[in-house]
C-alpha cells in the first residue's frame, strides 16, 4: 500500500428538515438561517420570473438554478466580501448574495453587456459561458492574492460536466503545486444538458478528481445549504491558513431544463424528476426553520411578498434601461481604439445621429 484515499459526504439537515446531528454554530443562529432561506427563495423567485420573461420574449436564453439554490447561496454565504467569485452561468444565487443586483443580471441575460459591469462586487468575474474555462482563471486570481500576501480567496464554480474538461484538471493541478487559496465548488446537478452524471465519468465521485492533484476532495448534500456553507467555510479557512486549495462536490439536482433553450423531456423521465422534488433545498430549510425556530406562516407570507416585490421592481428597472448607444459595440474592444475601429465608430455615431 502506497496511498489510501476516501471521500466523505456530509449532510446536516435531512430532506424533511430534521437535523442529522449537531449543527455548526452558524446554523444554530435563526437570523442567519432566515437570511439563507430568504436568499434561496429570492433566487427561486428570480429564476421563475426570468423564465417567464424569456417565454414572453422579454429575455434571452436563461439558465434556471431550480433545485440548486443551496449550492449558490451556501457557497456565497461562506465567502468574505473581498474574496472573488468566479462563477459559471448558473450561480445567480451566489451573485445576488455578493451584491450583484437582479436587474443587472436580467440586463445581461436580456442581451446587454452592461449587466456584467455590476456595481458590486467589482472584482468578481462575469458569468462564464464556456464550460470549464473559469477554473484556471480562478487559479490566476488566487495566485494574485498569494503574490500580494492578501488573505483573500477565489471561489470558482462549475457543473458536473465541467469536471470532464482538461481545464479542470489542469487548474486543480496548478493550485495544488502552488498551494493557492482557491476553492473549487462543483454543482453536480446530475445532468450536463442531456448527458447524465453516469455517462460523464466512470469515477464514483467527482470529488475524487481532487485526489490526483494532491488536493482534498469531499462531497456534500448540495440540497442542504448548511452542509454547503460548512464545507466551503472549512475550505476557505484552510486556504486562508496557507494550506491550499480544496474541491467540494455538491450533490444537487437540476429540477428543470438546462436552459430555456432546452427541452429536458426529450431525454429525461418525469418520474426521475418527481423523485428528486422531496429533496429540494428551499422546502427543506423551511421545514427546519419551522420545526426548530418557530418560523411562522406570517413570516413566510411576509417574506414571499417582499421577495416578489423585489423581483417585480428588478424587472421594472431592467425593462426601463435604455439601450446603449450604437457606438458601445466598439468602445470596449481596446483601451484606445486603433484607427480602423475609430473610423468604424465614427460611422456608427453618424448612423445613430443621422
Amino acid at each position: 500500500m502506497v496511498a489510501r484515499f476516501e471521500i466523505t459526504c456530509s449532510r446536516f439537515i435531512a430532506a424533511d428538515g430534521t437535523p442529522t446531528g449537531v449543527l455548526p454554530a452558524f446554523a444554530r443562529d435563526r437570523g442567519h438561517l432566515a437570511a439563507l432561506y430568504e436568499a434561496m427563495l429570492r433566487t427561486r423567485t428570480f429564476d421563475e420570473k426570468a423564465v417567464a420573461l424569456q417565454r414572453t420574449g422579454r429575455l434571452g436564453t436563461f439558465a434556471s438554478s431550480l433545485g440548486q439554490e443551496a449550492v449558490s447561496v451556501g457557497l456565497a454565504a461562506a465567502m468574505r466580501a473581498d474574496d472573488v467569485l468566479v462563477p459559471s452561468f448558473r450561480e445567480q444565487g451566489a451573485q445576488f448574495w455578493r451584491g450583484v443586483r437582479m436587474d443587472e443580471l436580467l440586463l445581461y441575460w436580456g442581451g446587454d453587456e452592461r449587466g456584467s459591469d455590476f456595481a458590486v462586487p467589482r472584482e468578481d468575474l462575469p458569468v462564464c459561458v464556456p464550460v470549464g474555462t473559469q477554473f484556471p482563471q480562478a487559479v490566476g486570481v488566487a495566485m494574485a492574492f498569494a503574490l500580494r500576501g492578501e488573505a483573500r480567496c477565489a471561489v470558482v464554480v462549475g457543473g458536473d460536466g465541467s469536471t470532464s474538461r482538461g481545464d479542470f484538471q489542469e487548474a486543480l493541478n496548478m493550485a495544488g503545486i502552488w498551494r493557492l487559496p482557491v476553492v473549487f465548488v462543483i454543482n453536480n446537478n446530475q445532468w450536463a444538458i442531456s448527458v447524465p452524471r453516469s455517462r460523464q465519468t466512470a469515477a464514483e465521485t467527482l470529488a475524487q478528481k481532487a485526489l490526483a492533484a494532491g488536493l482534498p476532495g469531499e462531497q456534500v448534500d448540495g440540497c442542504d445549504v448548511v452542509a454547503v456553507e460548512d464545507a466551503v467555510a472549512r475550505a476557505l479557512a484552510r486556504a486562508r491558513a496557507g494550506e491550499g486549495a480544496s474541491v467540494i462536490e455538491c450533490l444537487s439536482y437540476r429540477l428543470t431544463d438546462h436552459t430555456t433553450a432546452d427541452v429536458a423531456t426529450r431525454y429525461r423521465d418525469d418520474a426521475e424528476v418527481s423523485a428528486h422534488w422531496p429533496e429540494e433545498p428551499v422546502r427543506r430549510l423551511r421545514a427546519h426553520l419551522t420545526a426548530a425556530h418557530g418560523w411562522t406562516r406570517a413570516e413566510e407570507e411576509a417574506l414571499i411578498a417582499r421577495v416578489q416585490a423585489e423581483v417585480a421592481a428588478a424587472v421594472e428597472a431592467y425593462l426601463a434601461v435604455p439601450p446603449q448607444p450604437l457606438t458601445a459595440i466598439v468602445d470596449h474592444t481596446f483601451a484606445t481604439l486603433p484607427p480602423d475601429l475609430a473610423a468604424y465608430r465614427a460611422r456608427l455615431a453618424e448612423a445613430q445621429h443621422g
Binding site: 472573488v84 490566476g140 496548478m174
Partner: protein, 326 residues
C-alpha cells in the same frame, strides 16, 4: 549599449519590464531555473525569484487561463508557450476570455497580458515546431498580434506589449533568434504597437512582410536594386490591428504591392492586405497584387523543408513579372 541577438533582446526587455514594474511576472514551461528552452528567460529566475518567474506544469490551457486570472487582478502576466505548435489549447482562453474581458464587462475588468511563443520554420525542428499561425490569432477581435523581425524591434515591441492595457500575442521568429546581432540600447524605450516599419525605401514596388521573412525580403530587394528595381520594404510588425495607412500610402506611391509570408497561402494574412489594397488603392495599382507564400500544406519534416520556404528568388521573379505587367 550592447550587440544582442533577438533572443537576448527578448530577455533584456523582460528583465527591464520586471525591473520597472513589480506587476510584471513570467510563467511557462521551463522558464525558471532552465531559463527557457531557447534561453529567453535565462537568469530571470535567479534575478527575480520563483514568485515572479514561475515554472508551470505542462498545461497550456491553464498557463493562458492563469495569465488571464492574474491580469484581471492587475498583474501584467507574460506567459510563454514553448512552441507555437503547442498554443492551441491556449486559444480557448485567448479568444473566449482574454480578447473580450474588457468588452464584456464594459471595461470593469481588463486583461493586460502577453503571450509569447517562438514560431516559424527553417530551423530543422521536429514536427509541430515550424508552423506560422499568425492569421488565426489576427482573426480574433480584441487581440494584438505582434511579430518582431530584429533584436531592436523585439526589445522595443515587447516592452510596449507588456505595458499595453490589452492582451498581446507576441510571436518570436525562431529562425531569427540567433541569426544576427544588433545594437540594442536597454533604455526602456518602447516601440509603437500598431505601426509598420519601413525598412527600406523604394519607388517601384512595395514589398510587405513580417517576422523571419524580412531576411528573404531584404535579400530580394538588394537583388532587385542591382537590376534597377527599387523595392520599398515594409515590416508589418503588428498584424492586428495593422497599420493600413503606411501600407496604403506606400502602395499608392509605388503602384505595386507584393506580400511575402511564411504561412500557408489561403486565408493567410496576405489575403487581408491584398483585399485592403484592392478596396482602397485599386486606382493606384500598375500591376495585380501578388503574394509569395508557403503552399497550403503541412510543413515538411527537415529533409524537404527547404522546398516549403518562400525564397528571395521567388520574390525577385514575381517582382520582375509585376514590373513587366501591362
Amino acid at each position: 549599449m550592447a550587440e544582442l541577438t533577438l533572443v537576448e533582446a527578448v530577455r533584456t526587455a523582460l528583465g527591464r519590464a520586471m525591473e520597472e514594474d513589480p506587476r510584471v511576472l513570467i510563467l511557462g514551461e521551463d522558464v525558471g531555473i532552465d531559463g527557457g528552452v531557447f534561453r529567453a528567460t535565462d537568469g530571470l529566475w535567479q534575478r527575480f525569484g520563483e514568485a515572479r518567474v514561475r515554472d508551470t506544469p505542462i498545461s497550456e490551457a491553464a498557463i493562458a487561463g492563469v495569465a488571464v486570472g492574474l491580469a484581471v487582478q492587475g498583474f501584467r502576466s507574460v506567459a510563454e508557450i514553448q512552441f507555437q505548435g503547442f498554443i492551441h489549447p491556449a486559444l480557448d482562453q485567448l479568444a473566449n476570455h482574454a480578447a473580450r474581458m474588457r468588452n464584456r464587462t464594459r471595461g470593469r475588468l481588463t486583461c493586460p497580458m502577453v503571450l509569447r511563443t517562438p514560431y516559424g520554420a527553417g530551423v530543422r525542428a521536429p514536427e509541430h515546431h515550424s508552423e506560422s499561425i499568425e492569421a488565426l490569432l489576427a482573426h480574433v477581435p480584441g487581440l494584438r498580434v505582434v511579430i518582431p523581425s530584429s533584436p531592436a524591434r523585439a526589445y522595443g515591441l515587447l516592452l510596449s506589449a507588456i505595458r499595453d492595457s490589452d492582451p498581446v500575442v507576441f510571436f518570436e521568429p525562431t529562425r531569427l533568434y540567433r541569426a544576427m546581432k544588433e545594437t540594442v540600447v536597454d533604455d526602456g524605450a518602447g516601440l509603437p504597437l500598431d505601426r509598420a516599419f519601413v525598412l527600406r525605401e523604394g519607388r517601384d514596388l512595395t514589398l510587405i512582410t513580417w517576422g523571419a521573412m524580412t531576411r528573404e525580403a531584404r535579400e530580394a530587394a538588394e537583388k532587385l536594386a542591382a537590376e534597377g528595381i527599387e523595392a520599398e520594404l515594409i515590416d508589418l510588425a503588428t498584424l492586428k490591428p495593422y497599420d493600413a495607412a503606411t501600407l496604403l500610402a506606400s502602395v499608392r506611391r509605388t503602384g505595386r504591392c507584393l506580400i511575402l509570408h511564411e504561412a500557408p497561402r489561403t486565408a493567410g494574412f496576405g489575403a487581408e492586405i491584398a483585399a485592403r489594397v484592392a478596396e482602397e488603392a485599386l486606382d493606384a495599382l500598375l500591376a495585380p497584387v501578388r503574394r509569395v507564400t508557403a503552399p497550403d500544406i503541412v510543413p515538411p519534416l527537415p529533409r524537404l523543408e527547404a522546398a516549403y520556404m518562400p525564397t528571395a528568388a521567388e520574390v525577385v521573379s514575381v517582382a520582375r513579372e509585376m514590373m513587366a505587367w501591362g
